[in-house]
Symmetry: C2
Subunit: 150 residues, 2 copies
């Protein structure tokens, strides 16, 4: 079912410990090959054996899609100011069904931009065997509801 009326989140709506899940995305042999071709990546390299696994930048791009479609919907869209600690602990292969689970680690008002808050969110991308295939910690700028600080 498509959610036509997503709830937009303001800084005040987001608390440490909050969790957001996503739908799923299925990776295919064709989609792995298409990404490799478009971004000029070699067909096989030291990290990607005969049974070709997905490029890590493809896994990151799928994760962004799942994140945008998840319950974590800051008003105005996801405005990332950076990512720390991006890892790919397990390979992604054709047939894998991916989903994400995000947890808010920390929230704080921005000092330089008082109309915004900064939310530190840890996003884990999992396959259908529940193994993590990507982990990252992102810093996201989220608008504050209150206009008194604007």
């Amino acid at each position: 079912m498509v959610d036509d009326t997503p709830v937009e989140l303001y800084f005040e709506d987001i608390a440490p410990g909050a969790r957001y899940d996503s739908g799923t995305a299925t990776v295919t042999e064709e989609s792995i090959a298409r990404f490799d071709l478009e971004f000029g990546l070699p067909e096989a390299d030291g990290s990607r054996d005969q049974r070709r696994s997905a490029a890590s930048s493809y896994v990151a791009s799928i994760t962004m899609r799942l994140l945008v479609e998840s319950g974590f919907r800051p008003a105005g869209g996801i405005q990332g100011s950076g990512i720390d600690d991006l890892r790919w602990p397990n390979p992604v292969r054709a047939g894998d069904v991916l989903r994400i689970s995000s947890e808010v680690l920390e929230t704080r008002r921005s000092r330089s931009r008082p109309e915004k808050g900064i939310v530190r969110v840890r996003t884990t991308t999992l396959n259908d065997r529940n193994a993590p295939v990507q982990t990252m910690t992102a810093h996201v700028l989220v608008p504050c509801r209150a206009s008194d600080a604007a």
Copy 2:
């Protein structure tokens, strides 16, 4: 001119302070829109105004392409074990011509995998006005030439 005989680098060939440059990639309105469509990204959000800028995951994917094609060519391909400190200090827009410049920060033998070394490399993606549009520090696994440790 296509370089048909790239030099493959082993751990022993890579020293702190070494720099590697790349060719260029031109971003177009069509390529920005195609990536957004493929990865289900909203057409405009808080971080991407009317003159649509490229998705950060698209900038990261272009960077991976430039990196793979650059002089930094570990034997067996680029096998990343992770990325720290990924930032997008300036937007990328249609017409921008991107290139990368990488600098080796640190090299060390892997303790858990003695046939490999770990190279910490800082890659800055620049536009044609020399402004940084992405910065990242990656940890790359590079095979050692000497087989005595294998």
